[in-house]
Symmetry: none
Subunit: 129 residues, 2 copies
DNA sequence: TCATCTGTATTACTATCATAGTACAGTAGT
DNA sequence: ACTACTGTACTATGATAGTAATACAGATGA
């Protein structure tokens, strides 16, 4: 399911938020799909329910999901808040990303393949056993 | 120089650490080069000297730099193999890029197409093209 | 109605992050 | 010696992050 590294400098709620966002934008989670319940996901990831609740709350603020008391949390691609200048911002992000990756010595092909791999959610952290 | 986002969920000391590591692995900082002094860099980035000191301390623990009291902090890559760091840093860059783009409301497909388009304009083609 | 699930809210506690300020020790140039 | 740098160390404070436990409210099915 999802992968949490408690030793990471990135907060747990942020790690989880990023992975769920990635699942949504890559189409693995679709409009109307139900996320695991807060308590269920917390138990599965061995983290605190409050931390999962914080993630879900932020995802709702960003328009990715909608919470319904007694029912659960559901994907909502409809009412996402889009910035008017998001294209320009995205192009700046892209230029910056390319610049850094090229500085590392990566070719255009390697950059594309690396991005594709990460978009597919292929995460490889040091997993023992 | 370096870029700090105080609103990011990633701690300031970690943002700075990643950027300095990127400079080293990219070759912009070479063996023996002197980093800005703690107080100088803190003033330039408008962050606390203790935070810069923490970054430098961790970089020293990781073997990227050596601190000398009264003199400064110097790059010491030695005969370290930077190849493993290269991939690790690229994956961190990619994760950051995807998270920001997804936060803008872009789908995985849009991200891939946008990157591909920018790559064609910005990177010199290799000989095997 | 009752049990059991769901999200939500609150309090308490610990650890980390970042800040501010002070102080001490090593190096170099005048 | 003096000054001005350098890294290092320490205390203190406030904001976040994460955990733990409890309670409340809405939804569902027996």
């Amino acid at each position: 399911m999802y992968n949490i590294d408690s030793r990471s400098a990135i907060p747990v709620y942020e790690q989880l938020k990023r992975q769920i966002m990635l699942s949504i934008v890559s189409g693995r989670l679709d409009d109307g799909d139900k996320l695991p319940s807060i308590r269920e996901l917390a138990a599965a990831l061995r983290i605190n329910p409050n931390t999962v609740a914080k993630t879900y709350r932020q995802l709702e603020t960003d328009g990715f999901v909608t919470s319904r008391k007694g029912l659960g949390v559901f994907i909502t691609t409809g009412n996402r808040e889009l910035q008017s200048n998001r294209i320009e911002i995205f192009e700046e992000l892209t230029d910056e990303y390319i610049s850094k990756a090229a500085g590392l010595g990566l070719t255009a092909d390697e950059i594309m393949k690396g991005l594709e791999r990460s978009l597919k959610g292929e995460i490889e952290h040091d997993k023992n056993e």
